[in-house]
């Protein structure tokens, strides 16, 4: 699946990227991670508060850091779709 981290480079955005990568990796998901830092690109997801986590083109969470459990749930949901 395709995982995108939206964020203009704030500490929380980096934290989310690391957390998502670590969590998904440890739980054996196959994924490809991309960081989207351009504000106009971020706007295309109509996200206004960063960081945001996007899986397979769908915004899962924005404006906060999700817990590892949430990330796993999002990833499972995305795989089942």
């Amino acid at each position: 699946m395709k995982v995108q981290i939206l964020g203009t480079g704030c500490p929380k955005c980096k934290a989310l990227a690391e957390l998502a990568e670590k969590t998904l990796h440890e739980n054996g998901f196959e994924f490809e991670l991309e960081k989207v830092t351009d504000a106009f690109q971020i706007m295309k997801f109509s996200v206004m508060s960063t960081p945001a986590l996007v899986i397979n083109g769908k915004v899962k969470v924005s404006g906060r850091l999700p817990s590892p459990e949430e990330i796993i749930k999002f990833a499972k949901d995305a795989e089942n779709e």
Binding site: T8, C10, A39, K44, S46, V47, M48, S49, T50, K60
Partner: protein, 327 residues
């Protein structure tokens, strides 16, 4: 209620540490213990309560709420939302784009953007604890006015001319995605959110509280009143715009500025000059101007700078004139 704290602090200083009564070090230490506990208590309660109430509020809701509102009402509401929603300057560009593409007037968006970094619950508690309720109220009022008047100003000069992009309506698919996170919250969700916020904010401000109170305690215990009175700042008229001009490009968050302002005021810098410096440092910074350049033309950034310079200078002058440092 805080009498208990005073007694507790006194007990530690007198009975546990056995410092001699009447010594500078004991009154300073007592002040330090009492004040840090007080601020941490207040901060914990305030952050938790506000986060609990705010759990279901997010910028998407704010945007939807502001859409198509009456102009004047819009400025006031945008500034109020700015005050209660947490703000990270790295979100300012996506937020700016999101608001304007929802057809919210540029001025109303600016009201939100100006007030947001200036006012939040941690600032209110720390200012209140260190500098007193009066100055805190003045700060909050100035912060709100900065946003409201700024918003009106940008709409009067028709600031939408100065944007680097064309305003296009949001894609239709937006509705579902952006509001996905705002589903109904249970009490437990709210509690979890509030605890998360509490940890998050405390992690950022605890050091500033120790520094701020520590400086206050030092002055409380060791610097005699006469010194401050004698060296009281002259308050020359140009000192306010100079402080503001210096403060605007500097970057600091509001909580980090409070210990600095605390020490400046205690050292005798007029309160108006000190607050004007704080507001200008907190509201914008050079890095933020660079970011805003993506969406605003240089003309607009210059207007923005000049507006803040004039507004904060006026705030400082008025405050110096009215209170004459009697706060």
């Amino acid at each position: 209620m805080f009498d208990i704290l005073k007694q507790f602090a006194g007990l530690i200083v007198d009975s546990v540490l056995r410092l001699p009564a009447g010594c500078n070090c004991s009154s300073g230490l007592q002040f330090f213990i009492e004040e840090t506990i007080k601020i941490f208590l207040l901060l914990t309660v305030m952050i938790y309560v506000i986060a609990w109430l705010r759990a279901s509020l997010n910028v998407e809701k704010v945007r939807d709420y502001l859409k198509g509102k009456n102009r004047f009402f819009g400025y006031v509401t945008a500034a109020s939302f700015g005050a209660v929603t947490p703000f990270c300057s790295c979100s300012s560009i996506p937020l700016f784009l999101g608001f304007t593409s929802a057809r919210i007037p540029v001025g109303i968006t600016m009201s939100f953007l100006i007030t947001s970094p200036m006012i939040n619950e941690a600032v209110v508690v720390m200012l209140g604890g260190l500098l007193g309720v009066k100055l805190t109220m003045i700060y909050v009022i100035f912060g709100m006015l900065a946003g409201i008047i700024g918003g009106i100003f940008f709409d009067i000069i028709k600031a939408e001319r100065f944007l680097t992009f064309k305003v296009e309506p949001l894609p239709a698919s937006d509705a579902g995605a952006a509001t996905a996170a705002s589903s109904k919250l249970s009490l437990r969700d709210r509690h979890r959110f509030a605890v998360g916020e509490l940890k998050d904010i405390m992690k950022r401000v605890w050091l500033w509280i120790f520094i701020g109170v520590g400086i206050g305690a030092f002055i409380h215990g060791f610097v005699p009143q006469a010194y401050i009175v004698e060296h009281l700042g002259g308050g020359q008229w140009w000192s306010v715009p100079a402080a503001v001009g210096l403060g605007i490009p500097l970057y600091s968050n509001a909580t980090g500025m409070i210990p600095v302002i605390d020490v400046l005021i205690r050292k005798g810098l007029p309160a108006g000059t000190a607050l004007a410096f704080m507001m200008s440092t907190v509201a914008v910074s050079l890095p933020e101007f660079v970011m805003l350049k993506q969406v605003m033309k240089t003309r607009m950034l210059i207007y923005f700078f000049v507006y803040l310079l004039i507004f904060f200078t006026l705030c400082g002058w008025v405050l110096n004139l009215v209170c004459n440092n009697q706060l």
